[in-house]
C-alpha cells in the first residue's frame, strides 16, 4: 500500500484527466470558476433550506448539526475563492456517468422504497438522507478543487451515502456524526489510494471504510445507543420475502458487474458454516436465520465494489470465502465482547480490501493456478456462476432457510436449549428477551427482571431487576408490579395476547390485528405449552 502520491503523478494516472486516460473519461471543457462555484453554493443553500424541515426544527441538536455543516461548507468555499484569486487555474468539472453507480442507486432506492413501506422510519429519514447527499456532493466538489483536481460529476456519492444509511444512522441528537461519517467516507475514497493494475484506485470500499471506523469507535466506547444501527439491522425482515427481493436485485448486479462469485460464494460460505455450527451444537448460530438479512444485504451491496475487490474469478471466489469467514468470526467476537452483533457484516471489509493485491498475486501464483482452464468468455462464465447461485438459493429457499419460519424464531426453543445447556443458548435467550422488552413486551421485561434478580442466567443485579420489573409494570404486566412490591420472590405468568403479538412476529410480521384464536394457534406452533392447553380446552 502507498499513500496518495503527489498531484502530478496522480493526475497522470487517474482517469478523466489530461494524460493517460480513456477518452470517454476526459473532462468536459473547463468553465470559468464563477460558472462552477455556484454549484457547491447551491448545494449548501439546499442544505440550509432542509434545516427548515419540521423534524430538524424540532430538535436543537439536529438543527445545530445542519448549521455547522452549512457553516463549514461556506467557510471552505470562501477559502477556496480566496485561493483562486491568487491562482489562475479555474476549478474544472467533468460529467462522468458510470453504470455501476446508477444501477446501484436504482437497486438501493428500490430497497429503501420496499423496506420503508413496512418500516415507516425509512420514509421519515428521507429528508435527512437528502441532506447528506447535498452535503456529500458539495464536500466532494470542494475537496477535489482544493486539491487542484477536476471534479467528476456523476452518481458516485449516492451509492456511498445510501450504503452508509442502509447500515447506520446516528440519532437526531448526534446527527453531526452522520455528516462526519459521510465526510470520512468521501475522504477515504479520494485520499487513500494505491497503484493497482496501472491506475490509481481507492484502497477501501468508501462506505464500508467509514462504517467500520465508526463501528469500531462505537464498540470501543460502548456508544451504540447513539445510533439506530440495531433497528436498521432488525427491521429489514419486516418487509415480506426480503431475501427473495435481495436475491432478485442482486442478480441484476451480478449480471451487469460480474460480482456473482463474490456474493454467491460468501453466501454459500455463511450458509455452510451456519449448518455446520447447528449440526455441532443443536442451536442456530445467527439466532433466527441461517444468514442474517442485513448480512445478506451486505454481501450484495456492501463488499462487492469492483474497484476494491479482486479481478480474477478465483480471486473473487476467495474474496467471497474470506468475507463469509470474516462475518462469521466477527459475530462470534462481538458476542464474546458483549457488543451488538449487527456490526458483523461491516468490520472485515476494509481488512479484505487491504489484502486484495495479495489475493490477486496468490491466485496468479503456481500453487493456486487451476490445473484446468475453462475456455469461456467472462460473460459466459458469469452466467454459469449465476445459474449455480440461482440453483443454490432455490434449494435454500425450498429448505426454508431464507424467508420461511426458522427454529430460532421460537422463544420456547431457546428456553429449552438454555435448560439443556446448549452453547450460548442462555445468552441468546437473554438477548431475545432484551429485544422483546425493548419492544414493550411486559412479559419479556418481567422474565428478564427475574433472571437479574435470581442471578441464574446472568450475574445478579437487583437494581437492573427492579428497573425491568418497573418496565413490565408500566407495560401493565401485573406480575411486574407485584415483583416491585416483593422483589425477593419474583412471580411470573404466561404471556398475554399483547405479548404474544410481539413474541410471535418471527422476523417482523405485524400480528396486532390477528384474531386471538389464530394467535394462540400460532403460539402453540411456536412451542408455548399453555397456548396448546388453552386450545385443547376450547378457549379462544
Amino acid at each position: 500500500m502507498s499513500r496518495a502520491p503527489k498531484a502530478p503523478e496522480r493526475k497522470n494516472a487517474r482517469p478523466g484527466t489530461s494524460k493517460g486516460s480513456a477518452p470517454a473519461d476526459r473532462p468536459a471543457p473547463t468553465p470559468a470558476a464563477a460558472r462552477v462555484l455556484w454549484m457547491p453554493l447551491a448545494l449548501t443553500m439546499g442544505l440550509a433550506l432542509l434545516a427548515f424541515l419540521p423534524r430538524v426544527q424540532a430538535n436543537a441538536s439536529l438543527s445545530w448539526s445542519f448549521r455547522a455543516a452549512v457553516a463549514g461548507l461556506l467557510v471552505w468555499q470562501g477559502v477556496l475563492l480566496l485561493r483562486m484569486r491568487n491562482a489562475p487555474a479555474a476549478p474544472q468539472l467533468a460529467v462522468t456517468l458510470r453504470a455501476n453507480h446508477y444501477v446501484q442507486v436504482v437497486v438501493q432506492l428500490a430497497l429503501f422504497a420496499y423496506w420503508g413501506w413496512y418500516w415507516r422510519p425509512i420514509y421519515d429519514q428521507a429528508g435527512l438522507i437528502a441532506a447528506q447527499l447535498l452535503f456529500g456532493y458539495a464536500f466532494q466538489m470542494l475537496l477535489a478543487w482544493s486539491r487542484g483536481e477536476p471534479y467528476r460529476l456523476g452518481f458516485g456519492p449516492i451509492p456511498i451515502i445510501f450504503s452508509i444509511n442502509i447500515f447506520l444512522w446516528f440519532r437526531d441528537d448526534w446527527f453531526y456524526l452522520q455528516f462526519l461519517m459521510v465526510a470520512v467516507g468521501l475522504l477515504g475514497k479520494d485520499l487513500l489510494l494505491w497503484h493497482r493494475e496501472g491506475r490509481m484506485r481507492h484502497i477501501f470500499n468508501p462506505s464500508a471504510f467509514t462504517l467500520t471506523l465508526f463501528s469500531i469507535a462505537l464498540i470501543a466506547t460502548n456508544a451504540t445507543d447513539l445510533t439506530r444501527g440495531s433497528e436498521l439491522a432488525s427491521t429489514l425482515t419486516l418487509a415480506p420475502n426480503f431475501y427473495t427481493l435481495m436475491f432478485l436485485a442482486g442478480l441484476v448486479h451480478m449480471y451487469l458487474f460480474s460480482i456473482t462469485l463474490m456474493s454467491a460464494v460468501a453466501a454459500a460460505t455463511i450458509f455452510g458454516l451456519s449448518a455446520w455450527y447447528a449440526g455441532l451444537t443443536g442451536v442456530p448460530y445467527f439466532i433466527d436465520s441461517e444468514i442474517p438479512a442485513a448480512v445478506f444485504l451486505g454481501l450484495h451491496l456492501l463488499f462487492t465494489d469492483p474497484a476494491t475487490s479482486p479481478r480474477t474469478a478465483l480471486g473473487k471466489a476467495l474474496f467471497g470465502v474470506l468475507y463469509g469467514l470474516g462475518v462469521f468470526a466477527s459475530y462470534e467476537w462481538l458476542n464474546a465482547l458483549g457488543a451488538p452483533t449487527f456490526y458483523d457484516k461491516l468490520l472485515c471489509v476494509p481488512l479484505l480490501n487491504l489484502i486484495v493485491p495479495a489475493i490477486d498475486r496468490a491466485v496468479r501464483s503456481a500453487p493456486l493456478r487451476l490445473p484446468w482452464q475453462l475456455h469461456w468468455s467472462p460473460m459466459t462464465a458469469n452466467l454459469a456462476w449465476m445459474a449455480v447461485w440461482i440453483a443454490f438459493f432455490g434449494a435454500m429457499t425450498a429448505a426454508g432457510k431464507t424467508d420461511g419460519r426458522h427454529v430460532g424464531d421460537s422463544l420456547p426453543f431457546w428456553e429449552r436449549a438454555c435448560e439443556s445447556g446448549r452453547r450460548h443458548a442462555c445468552q441468546t435467550l437473554i438477548q431475545i428477551e432484551t429485544s422483546y422488552c425493548a419492544d414493550n413486551s411486559g412479559w419479556a421485561c418481567n422474565e428478564l427482571g427475574r433472571h437479574y434478580m435470581e442471578g441464574t442466567l446472568v450475574a445478579p443485579d437487583r437494581e437492573q431487576a427492579l428497573t425491568l420489573f418497573a418496565r413490565a409494570c408500566e407495560g401493565r404486566f401485573q406480575p411486574g408490579c407485584l415483583n416491585l412490591l416483593a422483589p425477593d420472590t419474583p412471580q411470573t405468568a404466561n404471556p398475554r395476547a399483547l405479548d404474544l403479538r410481539l413474541l410471535l412476529r418471527e422476523r417482523g410480521l405485524n400480528l396486532m390485528e390477528m384474531a386471538e384464536p389464530d394467535l394462540y394457534a400460532r403460539a402453540c406452533e411456536h412451542g408455548w405449552a399453555f397456548a396448546c392447553e388453552r386450545r385443547a380446552g376450547g378457549l379462544p
Binding site: 437494581e463 427492579l466 418497573a470 409494570c473 408500566e474 404486566f477 401485573q478 408490579c481 416491585l484 404466561n494
Partner: protein
C-alpha cells in the same frame, strides 16, 4: 364526640404519636420546618426532607360506602350486593402527614439513577409531585427507606422500626382510607359535608402541601382530600376488600388504586371512600403519592 372534641383529641394525638422526622411535631396546616430548610435555596444538596410520619393505631374501621344510603357514593364503593359497607381490621402503621413534594422527589431524582419524567420536577418545590407513575412512587419509597437507614439525622425511632422489619412503601387502599376517614365512617376527612376551605378541589392547580388546615381530620393528615390523587399499593379489585388476599389476577392487565381525588375534581370524587384506578404507567398532572411506614 363533637367536632371540637375530635379536633382536640386529634391535636393531643398528634403530639403524642407523630414521628417528626423533618423537625418538630408541627400542625397539619403548615409545611414542616425541616422541609422548609430543604426547600430553601440555601439548602445543601443532597439533604433529604424526611417525611413526618403519623401513627395510625391498629383496630377496625368502616370501609366503603353504600350508594343506597349515600347518594354521592359510587357503585364500586359498595362492599357487596348484600352489604353497603364493611369493617376491616388494620394493624398499626404510619402515614406521612403530607403528600411527597416536588422538592423531595427532586432530591430522589438527583441522588438516584431512576429516570423520572422532567415534568415531575417542574412544579413549585412545596407542591405535591405529579407526573409520577406507580413504579416511580415505589422507587422513591425504596430510596427513602435507604436514606432513612443511612442518614444519621433520621430519628432513632424510625431507624429502629426499619431494623425491626418495617418498610417504607405505599399504603394499601385500606390503610389509606383509614388514615383519611378514621374509624367513624365519615365521608370526608373533616366530616360529612364538602368544604372548600378544607381541601384543594374544584380548582385549577395544585397547592403547596398542607396549605389547607384540617383540625377536624382524624389523624391530622394533610390533603387526604384533593390536591392530587394518591397511588396506593393495592391492585384494583372489586370489593369486598380482603387484606389477606390483596393480590391481583396475574393474567389481567394491571390497574392500581389511587385515592383522594385531585384539585380538578368535584366534591364527590374527593370523599374518603372514593376509589380511583389507573394504569401503573400513567404519569399525569393530577396523580401523586404519599408514603407509609408499615410492617408486612
Amino acid at each position: 364526640m363533637t367536632r371540637r372534641g375530635v379536633a382536640a383529641a386529634a391535636a393531643r394525638y398528634l403530639l403524642a404519636s407523630s414521628l417528626a422526622l423533618g423537625g418538630g411535631a408541627g400542625g397539619a396546616g403548615a409545611p414542616r420546618p425541616g422541609m422548609e430548610a430543604v426547600l430553601g435555596a440555601q439548602a445543601p444538596s443532597p439533604a433529604v426532607a424526611f417525611p413526618d410520619f403519623v401513627e395510625i393505631p391498629g383496630g377496625p374501621f368502616v370501609m366503603g360506602a353504600d350508594p343506597a344510603t349515600d347518594p354521592s357514593a359510587f357503585d364500586n364503593e359498595r362492599w357487596s350486593p348484600a352489604q353497603g359497607t364493611g369493617t376491616v381490621e388494620a394493624s398499626t402503621f404510619y402515614l406521612a402527614r403530607h403528600e411527597v413534594t416536588v422538592a423531595q422527589f427532586a432530591a430522589f431524582a438527583r441522588a438516584s439513577s431512576w429516570r423520572v419524567d422532567p415534568q415531575a420536577l417542574a412544579g413549585p418545590p412545596s407542591h405535591p409531585v405529579a407526573f409520577v407513575s406507580w413504579p416511580d412512587a415505589l422507587a422513591y419509597c425504596r430510596w427513602l427507606e435507604g436514606e432513612v437507614r443511612r442518614a444519621p439525622e433520621a430519628p432513632a425511632r424510625v431507624k429502629q422500626l426499619l431494623a425491626e422489619g418495617w418498610r417504607v412503601t405505599l399504603p394499601t387502599e385500606a390503610e389509606w382510607e383509614k388514615g383519611a376517614r378514621g374509624t367513624d365512617g365519615r365521608r370526608y376527612p373533616w366530616g360529612s359535608e364538602p368544604r372548600r376551605d378544607r381541601a384543594n378541589y374544584e380548582n385549577r392547580g395544585t397547592a403547596a402541601v398542607g396549605t389547607y388546615p384540617c383540625p377536624e381530620c382524624p389523624y391530622g393528615l394533610a390533603d387526604m382530600s384533593g390536591n392530587v390523587w394518591e397511588w396506593t399499593g393495592s391492585p384494583y379489585q372489586p370489593y369486598p376488600y380482603d387484606a389477606s388476599d390483596d393480590r391481583a389476577n396475574l393474567e389481567a392487565d394491571a390497574l392500581w388504586v389511587m385515592r383522594g381525588g385531585s384539585f380538578g375534581d368535584q366534591a364527590r370524587q374527593v370523599r374518603g371512600s372514593t376509589r380511583g384506578a389507573a394504569d401503573p404507567g400513567a404519569r399525569r398532572a393530577f396523580i401523586g403519592f404519599r408514603v407509609a411506614l408499615v410492617k408486612r
